[in-house]
């Protein structure tokens, strides 16, 4: 046992200092897809996307829905002058509308997040208990959530703890588009959590259905923070949790 302790102590610090110090994604990381051109495009372009995440309006303005985008890159390969992969972690947003991007996206009507927890939980900011429920993910989101507690990310240093009881939970992380058999367990878990509480949809499937046409978690329960990605990287999920707790606000640039 002593050898394990020496083994643990014998290494330099590897833990990220995010959010105090920015953590840029490695070059070439497929964090999200951005619309990089404001030029009008032909309406047939929407057909490029296998999940229907791309829409083109009558004026030829293109919009991309990150709640459906699975980062397959079909659009990037077909039209690199319009779409590009961005090596960015922070894509979480406080409303479904805010997941739409591009010149055709109606950002004006995007509501600010519910902020249920952020408004009421100032005193909780150093101790937030997180519960996870899988409602039909592909299993990758669970790996990335688990990684938050590994030495690289160590989210406990920010006061986030994993809890096994919904009775102790302040934040519920939901993965997957909510399959029929998981609907009742999800509703029950949310119901028994004490107020104030926040729900974070983790992954494109949970945000807007992703590959599946039946929609995301918000067709069943109100979602406070959407973390798109297929799957979102640990820092992306950490960013979503910090938004939910009101420690960061959407669009805030870390300095």
């Amino acid at each position: 046992m002593l050898e394990w302790i020496y083994r643990g102590l014998g290494k330099r610090r590897i833990t990220t200092r995010y959010p105090r110090v920015p953590e840029p994604a490695p070059e070439g990381f497929h964090g999200r897809i951005d619309v990089v051109s404001g030029e009008p495009v032909p309406p047939a372009l929407a057909e490029l996307c296998p999940t229907g995440a791309i829409a083109v309006d009558n004026a030829g303005s293109v919009s991309l829905d990150r709640g459906r985008c699975i980062l397959c890159g079909e659009c990037v390969r077909a039209l690199p002058q319009v779409f590009a992969f961005a090596s960015v972690y922070e894509s979480a947003a406080g409303s479904r509308q805010a997941l739409l991007t591009g010149p055709g996206a109606d950002q004006a009507s995007a509501e600010p997040g519910r902020g249920a927890l952020a408004d009421q939980a100032a005193m909780l900011r150093r101790s937030i208990h997180v519960r996870h429920i899988d409602c039909g993910s592909d299993g990758a989101e669970e790996w990335e959530i688990t990684a938050l507690w590994n030495p690289y990310y160590d989210i406990q240093r920010l006061g986030f703890f994993l809890t096994n009881s919904p009775r102790h939970a302040d934040v519920l992380l939901v993965t997957g588009p909510v399959t029929d058999p998981m609907r009742a367990p999800l509703e029950r878990t949310w119901e028994v959590m004490p107020q104030p509480k926040a729900l974070v949809a983790v992954g494109t499937d949970a945000c807007g259905g992703g590959l599946h046409d039946w929609g995301g978690v918000d067709r069943i329960l109100p979602v406070d923070v959407y973390v798109p990605g297929s799957p979102p990287a640990p820092i992306a999920i950490m960013h979503g949790l910090l938004l939910a707790a009101g420690i960061l606000t959407a669009g805030q640039v870390m300095a």
Partner: protein, 494 residues
């Protein structure tokens, strides 16, 4: 290839052999002979893989078996009356149970009347609990689908008298998303994105097995360089999955430094995969016909990264194996006899931990595994420790293979993919050894588009054995045994 396994089969069965591609033999029988043919294959010591209905070229009840390095597809025409004996195949051969239940649930027309037909596989029945309790002073604990910790949704119904685990019933399908149907109508190079998202932690293996099926159906061979890259990505994925299992075992013993060490190694593998593919899960690399894009990493950098991981892993393995509080919980826990594993046709590290040398990379090698000289790691003990030791052995074998593959990357032509024939049609099986075990895809292509897909996931097949993994075990062994299986509900439920 030798056909000794097939030569053992009786004359009447061999009469139905159709000429097939290398390594895949098709056996056509009458509907009335299907059950008898399954019996013959069992007698010939074939390994059952899956049961499903094919639609091309005509609707057929189909079963896939592995027989001494060959793949055998048994097919009987599906007619209005159904196939006699379907619904009772599991009584003859327990390995068929889940596949048969699933088929009867999803396509009740194929089986005629059977008590299981009406059972909702995908929406577990809450009344089941009362009916399963075995006797006085015995109670059943339903564990899941909402788990403690961050785990995928699945339910275990544990019958116990207080400490001893008497029976465990595994109840998957809480996460059934209809992934097989999601492929229909997609071009193969788009379908591969769906394949990558069936079981996210085994994205590369799923993309490979799907691509192999498409390539075999269309008669396409990917370039050598692409085959090497596929094998490199497959081995990195295997390493991440095995390290995840070992870190979870350490967490369960509260060996926190050990847990942290194996999590660090897993994270280094994930970060290496970002540099090679842009994705922490190796997504977007494998595509029918080859691979996409070159890596943003030189061969030297790849080998250096592999060497660094190996040095750390050697020390951590040594410490893990000499920490008695860790190994005490694994030795003798969840013992699976070789004969039981054979009867249930289990695959992957689970089967190899009970002395079976089954590995798709070795039995029916694909991509660059045909030239690599894979060493299959097996242990005889059959307990959780053996399953972990198999994974430790495979971690070092993966490192060796990646180093060998990286050394070959510079040789020969650098083409990464070949185009698929336009509007091509055909049907074929494709397979790959996922970190959880042998994975098989059946793919039907109509004029260049995917018409139908069936997936035989290692997780669903191995979970049938979970109910038998508690011969002398108590409740607190449960989590150790579950982690030592290392399966993914997303793959099983689809």
């Amino acid at each position: 290839m030798s056909a000794t396994g097939i030569e053992q089969l009786p004359e009447w069965l061999r009469a139905g052999l159709e000429p097939g591609g290398a390594g895949e033999h098709r056996l056509a029988v009458d509907a009335g002979q299907f059950a008898a043919a399954v019996d013959e294959l069992r007698a010939a010591q074939a390994r059952f893989i899956t049961l499903f209905t094919a639609q091309t070229p005509r609707p057929a009840l189909s079963a896939v078996f592995a027989l001494q390095g060959e793949l055998l597809l048994l097919q009987a025409p599906l007619e209005a009356g159904g196939v006699p004996g379907l619904g009772e195949l599991a009584d003859r051969w327990p390995a068929i149970a889940w596949a048969e239940r699933e088929l009867l649930e999803r396509e009740p027309h194929s089986g005629g009347e059977h008590p299981l037909t009406g059972q909702r596989l995908t929406a577990p029945d809450p009344d089941l609990i009362e009916h399963e309790v075995a006797g006085l002073d015995v109670f059943a604990i339903p564990y899941g689908p909402v788990r403690s910790g961050v785990f995928e949704a699945i339910q275990f119904l544990i019958e116990t008298g207080g400490e001893d685990v008497m029976r465990v019933h595994t109840r998957p399908f809480f996460k059934h998303r209809g992934m097989e149907a999601r492929f229909a109508g997609l071009a193969p190079d788009v379908g591969v994105h769906v394949a990558e998202r069936v079981a996210g932690i085994a994205s590369v293996a799923y993309a490979c097995a799907f691509s192999h099926a498409v390539e075999r159906a269309l008669g396409v061979e990917p370039p050598r360089q692409a085959q090497r890259w596929r094998a490199i990505h497959c081995e990195l994925e295997r390493m991440a999955c095995h390290l995840d299992v070992i870190a979870k075992e350490a967490e369960t013993t509260a060996l926190y430094v050990g847990q942290a060490r194996f999590q660090i190694l897993k994270e280094s593998v994930q970060r290496l995969r970002v540099r090679l593919s842009g994705s922490r899960f190796g997504r977007g690399v494998v595509v029918p016909g080859g691979v996409r894009g070159e890596a943003g990493l030189s061969t030297g950098e790849l080998i250096n990264a592999i060497d660094a991981i190996e040095r750390e892993l050697q020390r951590d393995r040594r410490l893990f194996l000499k920490t008695s509080s860790m190994t005490d919980r694994l030795i003798g826990t969840g013992r699976l006899e070789r004969r039981l594993v054979e009867r249930h046709c289990a695959v992957g590290p689970l089967a190899r931990g009970s002395g079976l040398s089954t590995d798709a990379r070795h039995e029916r090698p694909y991509d660059d595994y045909r030239r690599l000289g894979l060493r299959v790691v097996t242990m005889r003990e059959g307990d959780a420790m053996a399953r972990i030791n198999v994974r430790f052995g495979e971690l070092f074998e993966s490192l060796r293979l990646i180093r060998q593959l990286a050394g070959h990357l510079g040789r020969g032509a650098r083409d990464l993919s070949v185009p698929l024939p336009k509007r091509g049609s055909g049907t074929a099986c494709g397979w790959a050894e996922a970190p959880q075990g042998e994975l098989l895809f059946w793919v039907e292509l109509h004029e260049g588009l995917v018409h139908r897909v069936h997936i035989a996931s290692p997780s669903l097949r191995n979970w049938a054995l979970f109910d038998h993994a508690f011969p002398r075990d108590v409740l607190t062994d449960f989590v150790f045994i579950e982690h030592s299986f290392g399966l993914t509900p997303a793959g099983a439920d689809r």
